[in-house]
């Protein structure tokens, strides 16, 4: 299976295709539910209610911010945009759509569905840093981070990738095959979410007692493996919807290619969880449930870049490699780089997404595709990380991201909500606060 070459302007969708993509996008929120449950399960029991309420609030804030401002900057493929003319080339860098979703009802079918896809994508991207900041990020600060991400950062990169921006036009302007391909948001959702998570973790710092002076990192395991693993199953349904809908919207894949995209999604996740199961069993003697969930999710993330492009066997191999890389990277980030990321989002969404984007380029049959993918990666890391760091740093000056030490000690549930998620259970004392 070779990738369909996306056209610069959207193709008209048949009624059947429109109905199919709409139905798929109505299932995509299951990915949000899955990620929210995984984030909650990987945090501590004394912050569980705050984590899940935060997920709801963040989705709400991200969607409103995107509707009010972000959708204007994201634009659509057939809508107006801001273009720079430099070095004899047009650089389409920012959308110029109507404010407040004006004229949405009269837009083309493709534009309406693209916008719905982006609404769900921005909500998913905003949930990623919330998981990394678990157990110490304040609810209001998490919402502010989501608002900035949804109103300013995500629209910029979504426009470049999905709305005829300069990354998608690399093929036309610089003869790089089909331009940067990101069929289901491996870059625009996951890599962007991961760099946001890294910025949040760097600014907020680690949980108290995580990295004691002169000692090893303290293990702070997730409090509910059932949430984590059920979240993985929910996420699968949402990812299938994202990957198949994305294949139609951004790759113009024919209906006959969609079952393969769905099978590829399943194979990538299955290969990844199998590999993580084996790696953790070899390293620790028994498989680790949290890391296996991370492996499963990294396989899904990698499939966001590759499901519509590669063969089933290639998809399985991509998943296997993602599943080996993820647990190792989680360990390296924690032990060698002292990054306290309770949800493992930086490894899962960052490394999984980057690996998927590289694999999509390496396995594409057209020459130049690999280079287009590398340029896209350079843009997301080289501009994305400094931009989100700067914006979140400004947010932190105005509205501190981190709760005070008392909040961390008693738990974010009591501190921010006045009541715990499990009032009938005795919460264990944390030795790290002695």
């Amino acid at each position: 299976m070779t990738p369909a070459i996306p056209s610069i302007l959207p193709l008209p969708l048949s009624d059947a295709t429109f109905a199919l993509v709409l139905a798929l996008l109505l299932l995509a929120p299951l990915a949000l539910a899955g990620v929210a449950l995984i984030n909650t399960g990987l945090g501590r029991s004394r912050s569980a209610a705050q984590s899940l309420l935060g997920s709801l609030a963040i989705v709400a804030v991200a969607v409103i911010a995107f509707a009010l401002l972000g959708a204007t900057f994201a634009g659509t493929a057939d809508g107006p945009s801001h273009t720079l003319h430099l070095a004899g080339t047009s650089w389409n860098w920012l959308g110029a759509g109507p404010f407040f979703l004006g004229g949405l009802g009269k837009a083309s079918a493709q534009s309406q569905l693209s916008l719905l896809f982006e609404f769900l994508a921005v909500a998913l991207a905003a949930l990623i840093p919330w998981g990394s900041g678990a157990d110490r990020l304040r609810l209001t600060a998490g919402c502010a981070v989501a608002a900035v991400l949804a109103a300013l950062v995500f629209p910029l990169f979504a426009h470049w990738t999905w709305a005829n921006g300069w990354l998608s036009q690399l093929g036309v302007n610089f003869s790089l095959s089909s331009g940067f391909l990101d069929p289901a948001g491996a870059a625009s959702i996951h890599v962007l979410g991961a760099v946001s998570a890294l910025a949040v973790v760097w600014i907020a710092g680690p949980r108290k007692g995580k990295f004691p002076q002169g000692g090893f990192a303290t293990a702070m395991p997730g409090h509910n493996a059932v949430y984590i693993l059920f979240g993985c199953l929910l996420a699968l349904a949402g990812w299938l919807a994202f990957n198949v809908a994305g294949a139609v919207l951004w790759m113009h894949a024919p209906l006959s290619a969609l079952p393969v995209a769905a099978v590829n999604t399943l194979l990538s996740a299955s290969g990844a969880v199998g590999a993580t199961f084996a790696v953790t069993r070899i390293r620790f003697g028994k498989p680790d449930a949290s890391l296996c969930a991370n492996g499963w999710l990294s396989g899904l993330v990698a499939s966001s870049a590759t499901a519509a492009i590669v063969t089933p066997l290639q998809s399985l191999m991509i998943g296997l490699i993602a599943g080996v890389l993820t647990p190792l990277l989680v360990e390296v980030l924690e032990l060698a780089v002292s990054i306290d990321d309770p949800s493992g989002a930086i490894a899962v969404h960052g490394a999984g997404g980057l690996w998927g984007l590289i694999a999509a380029g390496a396995l594409a049959s057209q020459p130049g595709q690999f280079l287009a993918q590398l340029v896209g990666i350079a843009a997301f890391i080289g501009l994305g990380l400094p931009l989100v760091y700067l914006l979140f740093w400004l947010v932190n000056r105005w509205l501190p991201l981190r709760a005070d030490s008392d909040g961390e000690r008693i738990g974010m549930d009591l501190h921010e909500l006045g009541g715990g998620a499990y009032p009938e259970f005795v919460i264990h004392r944390d030795d790290s606060y002695r």
Binding site: L176, Q213, V337, L371, L374, I377, G382, L385, P386
Partner: protein
């Protein structure tokens, strides 16, 4: 040091873009080399930023221990 690393990241990006502008499509090898150099610069920036973060965290933990 962390901020220096973060400032190096856009430099790597502009190096990758320069490759596309400076070299024609026929010079695929030179283009690829420049883009890879850009990514290497970004990787360097990430390493510097991570080391800066480690240092800052170490100072902070030391200060907390004294307090």
């Amino acid at each position: 040091m962390k901020y220096a690393g973060l400032l190096v990241l856009p430099a790597g990006f502009f190096l990758a873009i320069a490759a596309l502008v400076l070299f024609p499509a026929t010079s695929a090898g030179a283009r690829a080399g420049f883009v890879l150099c850009g990514l290497a610069v970004e990787a360097l920036g990430l390493v510097v930023a991570a080391r800066g973060h480690l240092e800052a965290q170490s100072h902070k933990a030391h200060g907390e221990d004294r307090a």
